[in-house]
Structure formats: structure tokens, C-alpha cells
Symmetry: none
Subunit: 188 residues, 4 copies
DNA sequence: TGTTAAGCGAGACGGTACGTCGCGTCTTAAT
DNA sequence: ATTAAGACGCGACGTACCGTCTCGCTTAACA
């Protein structure tokens, strides 16, 4: 019966939030700055988001995005293609910061834990598919544990790129994929 | 005539800081809370630490600790032993949070970047030694790239434990080590 | 062609407004509280009243009420009877608060000044009549200044009851009336 | 052991508060405006005053001021002199507004009630003295009730000046004093 | 007897001020 | 000279109301 919350306002807020995040970083992120920049009243922001942290996380919704599942015909090719999609995103410092923030905050805040879960699940799908395809082709043993495999696959990239903050060039990507596929094939 | 800065005070502050970190998490970490809890005046804290973030990080100094280098006679044994040391530390939620915080903050704050570097280096030493020993035994090819290998080794554990927050039991530890050693041996 | 504004709604608003005034006082008086309590939408309230202050004042319309003019045959009797009517109204704390609020606000808001004027005038009529009757009976000199007399009559009661917030019992009422009549008779 | 609250800051705040009151009236009175104008931080204001209302009332402390007790040798002279002191103060619209605000708020807020009490008591002293002197000179009966007399004296002036907002010129002052003294002498 | 403009509830919106909290700096008295 | 205590300027927080504005739905007067 009442006026619906304006999706336009919500979007303007999210856009401004992303801009602020990019410009000032996580530490300089402020609801009042977002309000000023978006031209939306602070009270309206609080009508759409329970608090500043949630707003920041929502602004980072892009982290929880769908990745395409490649199908190149070989395990190595699929893994290289998939990581080729994921790596650029992890390279954006704002996203990296936010992602780590999500992981850290998930320990205490249940709402953030949910985002964390979604973020993790989103990347699981393609990996499972890639593994299944490889099993179908006979490249991998049928009883390979998917849970362990996904950490074995993602871990090295995550470690190098986001934790150690080193670049991953084309050669490194291929070398890591080679190590990973060799390891996976040895399963059992 | 002057009183030296009491080391006792510094230590009480650090202890209180760790307690606060553990109880309230990174978000609830506050200089004033640490002051109240430690019974030390805020001004004294600022005499010992340049600002609240540095205090928090110093309280996390334990993360930058020396790990013993195992020597069990086999690559698998050494890796299992090493990770057996590292994993319990990563399991402490306060340390985990802090570590992620360090990684995130390193992007902007050069002082934290230094801590980040030390934290990373501390773990590198034992890994290099383990790899060198394995090369000496002929378990690994001589030209194995240490930089890539260390991400390939640590990454899966880090991913599973700290990012995905799943337990790593004895069996999982051994399975991951098996995958890793198989991968490493395939180098070249 | 259009629907007329529902008098029922207006009345429900006024009732709720008076209730809110009585319960929370002038400071706790809020349009939104009145809306919630009355079950009437805020927009409807603003359709009937230009703003919150006006609503509050309208809710106090009862202060601007007609008082009967007594005629007991003597000045003392008339004054006692008149104040006997007025005092109970001044005793209602909500009305008292509101009345003071009107006086205070009249200084700045011309609309409230109008209410203030009406409020004052309403009480003037009976007093003039009482004085005229007394003059007719020869109890008071013909040239008694009505303007001064009305302050001389009302002032002591107002001061004691509304400003000093002390009770006025039967005896006090009679004593004050005696002082007043004696004073008035001395005019000239 | 700690730094004492700076009396200078408190005074600057009060000065600014009075200025704001005078310029914008009670409605435009805002803690943030006072902060900005005084150059004192909002948090400091809240360190000195529990809330904005209390600040406003403290700024009106001048209302609770000591009045000199005249001694002209006659009751009429004393009353004229005393009201000659009081009337100019009641004429300041800011003070008048505030005074009514104090009376109104005293009903609900115990702290304001205390101010109200002090405000009332401050004026009682001189009046009692004036009455006692008159009794000593034989101008008034010994058994005159002071409580009733004080309302009888102050009431008319208060009513005319602050409630009805009419001027009190020299002639009116004398006429009212004449009525009052005549009334008082009739006691008993 | 429909039509239709206004009333109405609900509540979103842009604002302003609130009172609180934490920061990092400072001043004071005591040790 | 260092410490405990805490005041200070600053600035963000999240809340409460303000008065205005869309929304659909309902309803009484006109056509």
C-alpha cells in the first residue's frame, strides 16, 4: 500500500559506495561520504542497509558473481581458462581487501558468514564441473574427493595472488596448473 | 633521574590487547578498551605504540614466529610435520582474523606491509630447507622453482583452513600432502 | 465531486494528540506518535493541520473555552465562583504545560499569538462583567481601570497555581479574594 | 589526577548558547550551532552538560540571579524599587521564553524542577525582607501570611508582563503597588 | 448510476539534529 | 620523566522526527 523503496536510490547508493571504496579504500569508507556522493540522504541509506558494514559488503556483491564454466576438452585447458577468469578479479585491490574482510568478519557476524558462504559456493560449481568432465574423459580417477581437490586447485593461486600479493603471469599460471593436474592424477 | 619505560606496562598492554582481540574480534578492538582492561593509561599506550592499528598488529606478533624445521628423512614426513606445527596456530580465530587483517592492511599501510613481509618470510625458511633436503635425497628435481613450490604447498592448507574455515583432520592432512608431493615430483 | 475530509479522522487525531500531550508532555509530543496512536496516517494529519505545532495547539483548544459569568450578588462571591471554575482547568498538568507553551511560542509565531490573544480574551469577558456589576452595586469606584484590575485579580492565582505549582485550597482562595477586593475598593 | 574540565570552555559554551538563544530563539537553539559558534567540540559540550536542554537552561542561569533588597523606608517604596529591578529582566524576550520553559519543563524533569525551585526562591528572599520591615514599621499586621502575600505581590506583574505581554509603565507600576499595599494592609 | 477527483493508509524520501563512541593529542598531579 | 586519569577537538555512527511525496485503495458527490 505504501510507496515501494526506490530501486534507483538503492543503485545510486551502491554505485557511490563502490566508488568510495575504490577511491578511499576500506578505511576511508564512510556512510556519510557515500550519502554525500550519491546525493541520497543518510536516512535513506539506513532504510536500505542495516548499517555501514552491510552496505560495504553489498557494494562488494560483485565478488559473489557467477563464473562461466569452460570446456576446452582437457583438464589443464579448463583450469587455465577458469583461473584466467578468476585472477583478474582477485587483482582488483578493492575487491581483494573486501574479500579478506568478508572472510575475517564471517567469524563473528552471521550475516557476513552468509555472504562468505555464497562467495565460496559460487566458485565451487565450475570446479566441480571441470572435475566431472575430466573424470568422464578418464583424466582423473572417479573417486577423487571434490572437497579436497577444490582447495588443492584454488589454494595455490589464492595464496600467491591475494595473500602474498605476487603477480601470476602466463608462465606461472601454466606451471601451477601443471603441478595441480599432476597431483590430481596421482589420487588414490 | 628519569624512569625507564616500564616493560611491564608494555607487556600488560599486549596481553590485554590479545585478550580483547580474542573476545571482541577485530571490529571490537579499541584502544580505550585495551587501556581499561590492562589498567594502563591511554597515553601510556600511545607512548609505546604509534597508534591503535600498530598495537593490534604488535599484539599479533606471535603470528610472526619461528617454526622449527623438521627433518624426518622424507619429503612427505617433513611436510606433514611442518604443517602439523602451522595448522594449530592458524586455527586460533583471533590469529586468523589478525592475519587476514594484516594481509588486507598491507596494501595501504607500509608499516603493516613490513609485518606482512616478515610473516611471509618466516614460513619460507623451513619450506626452502625441506625442499633442499628433498632435492639432496633425489626426491625432487634440482630445478624446482622454490617460489612456485611454496605457494603450491601452503596454498591448499591456507585455503581450506583460513579462507573456507573447514577443519583439517589427520587424514585430510595426509591426502593433501600426497597430492602436493606428487605434483612437486612431476616438475619439469 | 470529491470526498470531504472526514471529521471523524480529525477528531481521532485531536483525541490522540491530547492523550499524547498528557502522557509524554510537550517534549514528547510528536506527529508520528500521534499518527500511530490515532491510527490515522501521517499524511492525513498534515492534510488537516499545517504542521505539528499547530496540531498541538489545536489539541489545546479546550483552553480557549467559555467560562460562565457568575452573579452571586457580591464582588467576593462572584470572584470566588469564577476562580472556582478556572482553577480546576489550570490544575490539569497537560493544560498547564500547553498554556505556558502557548505564551512562550506567541512571542515568535503569529498564529500562536492569535491563539494566545483568544485565550486571554476568553477570560476577560466574565471579569469585566463582574467588575461592572460591582460598580453598579457601588462596591467599586466607577473609574476603576479594568485592564489593571484584571491582572490584579488573575495574577495571584496564576502565579501560585501555574508558576509556583502550589495548591490553592478553599481557605487560600478566600484569603486571596479578600485581599483583592480590599485592594480594588481602595482604587483612586 | 586528571586534567580538570576547562572552565574557559564551559564559559565559551555558555556565552555562545546565550548568543544563539538571543538570535534564533528557543526553537532555533541547537547544540551543534552552539558548538560551531563557540569553537568548542560537541563532545566537550556533552562533557559539561548532560543534554541540549540542560545547556539551554544553564545558559539562562541569569534568571536565577540575586536581586538586591531595597530599603526605602516605606512598603510602597520598597515594592516599587524591587519590581523596578525585576521587570527589566522579565522584559527580555529570551529570558521570558526560557522562564516559561523552565516552569513547563519542571513538571516532568526533576533537574529542571530544581532550577525552578531556585528561581522561585531567589525572588522570595527580598520579598520576605520587605514584608518584615513593613511589619516592623507597623505598616502591616504581624500575622500576614508570607506565602500568600508573595503571590499577591508578584502575580499581577507576572501576569501583565509575561503572560499578557503588556508593558508596565511607571504609572501602572505605581497603581499596582497601590492596589497591593492596600490589599495587604487589610489582612486579618 | 456510474465516474472520478479527493480522501486515506502506508511508508519512502531528503533533511537536520540528536547523543554516543572512538580516535589521537593534550594537560595535570602523583610517583 | 613516566605514569594514570581523563579533557579536548574531531568526525562518524545509527536513531528519531520533520514535512513532502508517491503509491493503491476506498468513497462520496456529480453527471
Amino acid at each position: 500500500m505504501a510507496r515501494p523503496r526506490s530501486e534507483a536510490a538503492r543503485q545510486r547508493v551502491l554505485d557511490a559506495a563502490q566508488a568510495v571504496l575504490g577511491e578511499t579504500g576500506v578505511d576511508g569508507f564512510t556512510v556519510e561520504r557515500v550519502a554525500k556522493r550519491s546525493g541520497v540522504a543518510k536516512s535513506t541509506i539506513y532504510r536500505h542497509f542495516p548499517n555501514g558494514n552491510q552496505l560495504m559488503l553489498s557494494a562488494l556483491g560483485c565478488v559473489v558473481q557467477t563464473f562461466p564454466t569452460p570446456n576446452t576438452g582437457s583438464l589443464s585447458g579448463d583450469l587455465e581458462a577458469f583461473m584466467g577468469h578468476v585472477l583478474p578479479i582477485m587483482s582488483d585491490p578493492a575487491i581483494a581487501q573486501a574479500m579478506l574482510g568478508v572472510v575475517a568478519a564471517a567469524a563473528t557476524d552471521p550475516e557476513i558468514a552468509e555472504i562468505h558462504r555464497a562467495m565460496m559456493a559460487e566458485r565451487l560449481g565450475p570446479i566441480v564441473t571441470i572435475l566431472d568432465l575430466a573424470k568422464g574423459r578418464g583424466e582423473l580417477p572417479q573417486d577423487l574427493d571434490t572437497g579436497i581437490a577444490r582447495d588443492f586447485i584454488e589454494g595455490p593461486f589464492f595464496m600467491r595472488k591475494m595473500i602474498r600479493c605476487e603477480v601470476i603471469d602466463e608462465a606461472t599460471l601454466r606451471q601451477l596448473v601443471a603441478l595441480i593436474t599432476a597431483g590430481l592424477r596421482s589420487w588414490g
